[in-house]
Amino acid sequence: MSTAALAPPNSARSLFSSVIVKKAIMAATGAALYLFVTVHLLGNLQVFLGPEAINTYAAKLKSIPEILWGARLGLLTLVGLHILTTIQLMKINSKARPVAYAKKANSASTAASRTMYLSGPTIAAFIVYHLLHLTVGSAHPQFSETDVYSNIVFGFRVWWVSAAYLVAMALLCTHLSHGVQSMFQSLGFNHPKHTPRIKKFAHAVGLIYFAGFASMPLAALSGFLPPFFERL
Amino acid sequence: MKLDSRIPSGPIEQAWDQARFDMKLVNPANKRKFNVIVVGSGLAGGSAAASLGELGYNVKCFCFQDSPRRAHSIAAQGGINAAKNYQNDGDSIYRLFYDTVKGGDFRAREYNVYRLAQNSVNIIDQCVAQGVPFAREYGGALANRSFGGAQVSRTFYARGQTGQQLLLGAYQALEAQVDAGSVKMYTRTEMLDLVIINGKARGIITRNLVTGQIESHAADAVILATGGYGNVFYLSTNAKGSNCTAIWRAHKRGAAFANPCFTQIHPTCIPVSGDYQSKLTLMSESLRNDGRIWVPLKGGDKRSPSQIPENERDYYLERRYPSFGNLVPRDVASRAAKAVCDEGRGVGETGLGVYLDFADSIKRLGKNAIEERYGNLFEMYNRITGEDPYTQPMRIYPAIHYTMGGLWVDYQLMSTIPGMFVLGEANFSDHGANRLGASALMQGLSDGYFVIPYTLGNYLASNKLEKVDTSAPEFAATTKEVNDTIARMLSIKGKRTVSSYHRELGKIMWDNCGMGRNAEGLTKAIQQIQALRQEYWQNVNVPGSGADLNQQLENAGRVADFLELGELMCRDALARNESCGGHFREEYQTEEGEAMRDDENFQYAAAWEYGGENAEPILNKEPLEFKYVHPAQRSYK
């Protein structure tokens, strides 16, 4: 291959064909989705404040349809771009090493980083189920449009639903623990002092978020969260 | 053979300026009509190819490695000298010139050396501009250190990887020209012969090391920058691939070979550990700044070093050379180590080693200070030997490191074959009988960046060169010879491997033409080499074919050439009845065992002419004149 085949250095082509730009898009969309996950977790933890709190919060979210649908569309775009760039990079990467090693050891990478391509699609599949379960309600045995609290409590009282949810959250949190540190690197930030801190923070985030998400189904299963009518 | 050194007349300070003014120039528009071949891509070849490409010549550059960046210049550790006087400590171009002529034991050409000292200044500027990350002081200025016993701090360095960084600078400049289309790079391609048409160098024959294809390349001039021939000793600090094939085959086509016996031995290398040893590793001689060299007082003392009390140790350098002590020049330190080992006082399992002990320095300065200065070297030593130099003394032994001899060139770096230029370690021009530390990098880059761009133009502009392409009958004839040699080597299928011959040659050379030489040993060595060569061509086993990647075949051709060059080195050493620099003839020493030069009879460069397959080589002499630095005996007492 000759370098003469190169396009002029400052053609706009390089902006979108570049693997680094693609990876940056993945990082930026990841960062936005990470923010969403944070807000979503904090919102849902209101379930522990009792039915009124969370149901009022949910009603507020749904009160202005323009904002609701705008946010939903935005999230969909983010997820779409995140997945699209992933698929593009996966294609490039699978072409880069067609013959596998007979023996390959991993020296430095974390399991989380090596399983992004597995955790990602699983999370995507889970999101679809999660929407049908707790947003659309078609996969929920006793779905109510207004009583989010009961949806959560009854939804999670089915043990295998909770189990699947826990697995999905474990994957999401490992995905985040690599993603958080990786996005800084992809966007060109690496600092001898701060980067180790970011890594620690990323691991902590993974664990804390998992604890947060896991607390809801576990509380529902164990009876710590009573059904709405029992409280009355 | 007539040797015209083309040294300019007039005062030495203006000689290079005047010579450049007198040179003919090639019209800018005509440069691209000239084809130039550069063989070798190290500091000399890489910088030459990049600079000539930039000037507009059509350049083809060849290297046997997979990339030009692998050339052995990359392994130089210490630094590069330049007469910048940034330290305000009294350095000057004249002082660097003086030190180099004296260090070379008065066997180098004054005018060449002066030009080298002048160019040293430009080299640093050029390399800094290329982005070579030289060491800096906190104020942002370039840092210097003193090196190899010099009394001024004139050595520029990039950690312990100065050669690497300078080479990468030249390599990047070369790749920029490849990208621009002015240089075409031929990697994994080995030059196997030189093509001469009407008495001028007009091309080369190469072998593609991947496909085995024998190819012809025509040009208006050929530049060889293929490095030194230290691997004739088998064990040396050179890379395994470093070889003499290009210069040797050019020698057989008519290029005189000058001072082949001038080889440099480096005192601080890691000793041999077994028969399987494939190369020797050098450690920077800066180690001698804080390490003390000793051996047991009594021969055959097999106690571990910690059990030998102070009064049963012999710090022989401090004893023999009280004023320089452990910092005597390379050749003196090496010979002294050999002497104590010959007395049976060497250490380690093989008895070929001396201690380099840091215990006193660690006590005095603390382990941290030593680690800061030599941490990477200690680590390297530990990696190779498995021993910890912080708790037990290092073992060191001298090893072949550099060859001052090489193809004879005139002031314009042209060999005795018109149109063939020789740069860097491959030529003989600047270091005389001994090279000073941190001067090899300087010479390679001076030749490539700042000499050849002018002298090549002068040759092209002042000679009428007829059009030549690879269809000329001379190419076919030379190709046939190359093919015949390869076929002959492959057809022997004898009993011994190529490297077994190489090892045996190396041992003959090391024993007889190494640190100490004498007439008897050299005479015997010549006969042994002749017999070994004869056996080689009857009993060597080169497996495989010539039609693909065959590393044994590559090596077989190189060893065949070493078997011839080794003999010439012994002949040169035998003919030089004096001791000077790296050449120590045991018959010619003072009562105290120091080298004794004979300026009356041997103040010349010996330029050997190839005599033919079974004929003796012919010695031509280029007398050396010393108008500026007056020959004196070196003393380090």
Binding site: K95, R97, S107, H178, S182, Q185 | I74, D125, A176
Partner: protein, 257 residues
């Protein structure tokens, strides 16, 4: 000690390859890994078999010629060490070792353990240099360079171009190699004029050579015999993104040289 070797044998780029088994007997622990292979090869030649082809030159860890996988690790188990500097004392008697060439589309196998790394040269040719005409440079001390910048630059410039980072990367990316060169030149004042062009062209060449894309997992850093940190990849990302952003939409204005 005695060892069992499983070595990838392949006659040439077009031929299929396979793993073959060899015995390495009476290996001294003071041998380097390549010296052990030398001895195996002498044995193979004596048995009229073809010796194993592997690349090597300086054998002191600086030229970057050598390198293959030893039990799935580029350059073998010792960190910060090329395979030529790896000594046999790190192995145990009776161990089985798998030797495989670097594997990447960009590094076609030429023979046995020898691969073609010309792609790395072409990445440098695409912009890994500072253009300066021979003889035109200002005085070396004319531009001062802060020591910190010189040190970071040197950390990056220590790259020996062996290709271990590509071999170790699950995506066969050459991000650490390219990042090291972009960082080496980009941190020095001398490298500023071409900084953005360099970051664009070298990264574009990466794709043309069919290297993979970096996923920030750090295997390259662990495999690098010169221990170059992945911080250098972040520097490349920074330079590239900045340059891409600055030149966006420059298509119509007819960019180029």
């Amino acid at each position: 000690m005695n060892l069992t070797l499983h070595v990838w044998r392949q006659a040439n780029a077009a031929a299929p390859g396979r793993m073959e088994r060899y015995d390495a007997r009476n290996v001294s622990e003071d041998m380097s890994f390549l010296e052990m292979l030398d001895v195996v090869n002498e044995q193979l030649i004596a048995e009229s078999k073809e010796p194993i082809a592997f690349e090597h030159d300086c054998r002191e860890g600086i030229c970057g010629s050598c390198g293959f996988m030893v039990n799935g690790v580029a350059h073998g188990p010792q960190r910060g060490t090329t395979v030529c500097q790896l000594h046999m004392r790190h192995f145990k008697d009776g161990e089985e070792l798998y030797l495989e060439p670097w594997r990447a589309t960009a590094f076609p196998v030429l023979k046995d353990l020898v691969v073609d790394r010309g792609a790395l040269d072409r990445i440098i040719a695409a912009g890994g240099y500072v253009s300066v005409r021979t003889g035109s440079a200002p005085d070396g001390n004319a531009i001062s360079v802060p020591k910190e910048a010189a040190d970071i630059s040197m950390d990056a410039a220590a790259c020996i171009g062996c290709g271990a980072c590509v071999a170790a990367c699950p995506n066969a990316a050459a991000a650490l190699f390219t990042g090291a060169k972009i960082s080496h030149l980009g941190t020095l004042p001398q490298g500023q004029a071409e900084r953005s062009r360099r970051a664009l062209r070298m990264v574009e060449q990466l794709s043309l050579e069919d290297f993979g894309a970096c996923t920030n997992i750090g295997e390259c850093e662990a495999a690098c015999p010169k221990q170059i940190p992945i911080e250098m990849i972040a520097r490349m990302n920074h330079d590239h993104l900045k340059a891409a952003w600055q030149t966006r939409g420059a298509r119509k204005s007819g960019g180029g040289e």
